[in-house]
Amino acid sequence: MSEPQNESLFEAPPIAEQERMVEAILFATADPVTVTELTGRMPHGSDPAEALAHLRKRYEGRGVNVVKVGDAWAIRTAPDLGFLMQKETVETRKLSRAAIETLAIVAYHQPVTRAEIEEIRGVSVSRGTIDQLIELEWIRFGRRRMTPGRPVTFVVTQGFLDHFGLENARDLPGLKELRAAGLLDNRPPPGAAISDSEEGAEEADQSDMFEDDA
């Protein structure tokens, strides 16, 4: 706008004005724009290439840059700010029962092989479950077991200890303590048939008696 202007006033607008024009066109056009196209859209005598060079310089180091796309020009987000165009939504989900049990076995029995985990759980452990725990950085590979097949073992990580607020995996409460804490009474399906009948029996008896009564 304040650029010195040697051209005749009757010719092209000042280069600063041309720069504004190129800026507006590049901004508003849905596709990259060629110099030819700019020439066609700008007032007669304009020098879009020159204006583009100015504009390009002006946007150097800015949040958006003037970039060449093929033989056309466009304004694009600065490469280092691409992360702003992503909106990360973090969803926190509860770990699946299989994963919790697997993790618990690793924590209590480390180093432990996959076969051992399966033996303790009584069901096979899916690859996904192990992968998930490794990805969460709660378990990692330990040493190979010096037994036939040299199976890998799994151990818990420092990240695991940090997450669960433990200094050491040995700090995990034992079965007795779990029971004392009432955690073993809170047992659903496995023994359900039995524990149910224990409690249920009394009720059944009672209702029987009431029927007798009647």
Binding site: M85, K87, E88, R97, L166, L178, P190, I194
Partner: protein
């Protein structure tokens, strides 16, 4: 004048008022009412179809005109002619103001016509990251769940205070051969089981159920003297028939 060109009676009134060539605030509502009524008369002569609201307005203006011309009747209630006229003037002024404002609004620079939004847009990519969490309690409960699975298997074996009907049946099949006389079923309870209440309850129920089963099979007979009286059984002797 073309009636169809007006957006309702208020619009017509506003147009008529412009012929008075005065500021709307100084307009003579009486004169305006007369102009309107004349317009409607003419429309009738020309047999133009006038929408009902134009006729309603005509009737109202005729009423207003009479109120404005006649000396106020002290017995009559409601707003005076002047009040009604003032309100009509306000309505006209307000409509005119909105007309002007609408024109000013539309004369503004408009998006997509005079100024423009970004042509190349970048959608914000939604990246959904799922993290998993568990508490120490989850962990311990999970472990307890697995370990008690083991514990329960033996526990099934050492159900010390529970007797099943099958067990009772097994036991009674051995003993029943000796029961020629009526015997209280409580005497069939395993030794020691009659002391502990839980065991007594369980073994009594099992034994009673087993007795019914044996009775069904025709091996024994059951009797009870009265409600709550002891239940007795004895071996059924096959009769010769």
């Amino acid at each position: 004048m073309d009636v169809g060109a007006f957006e309702g009676p208020l619009d017509l009134l506003l147009t008529l008022s412009r012929t008075q060539k005065v500021d709307l605030r100084e307009i003579s509502i009486l004169a305006l009412a007369e102009q309107y009524l004349a317009f409607v008369e003419k429309a009738k002569e020309l047999r133009l179809e006038l929408a009902a609201d134009y006729l309603v307005m005509a009737a109202w203006l005729a009423f207003l005109k009479s109120r404005l011309l006649l000396p106020p009747d002290p017995t009559e209630e409601g707003p005076s002619g002047e009040e009604l006229a003032a309100h009509l003037a306000f309505q006209l002024e307000r409509l005119e103001a909105m007309r002007k404002s609408a024109a000013q609004l539309m004369a503004r620079d408009q998006l997509g016509r005079d100024f423009f939004a970004r042509g190349i847009t970048e959608d914000v990519q939604r990246v959904r990251r799922v993290t998993y969490t568990a508490t120490l309690l989850d962990l311990m409960q999970g472990y307890a769940r697995i370990r008690t699975k083991d514990e329960f298997r033996p526990f099934v074996m050492d159900r010390k205070s529970l007797m099943t009907m099958e067990q009772a049946l097994e036991r009674m099949r051995h003993l029943i051969g000796f029961a020629g006389e009526w015997t209280d079923i409580s005497s069939y309870l395993p030794e020691g089981w009659e002391v502990d209440p839980a065991r007594r309850r369980s073994s009594t129920a099992a034994t009673f159920a087993a007795s019914l089963e044996l009775a069904k099979e025709g091996k024994i007979e059951i009797r009870q003297g009265e409600t709550f009286a002891p239940i007795q059984i004895r071996k059924k002797v096959p009769r010769d028939e």
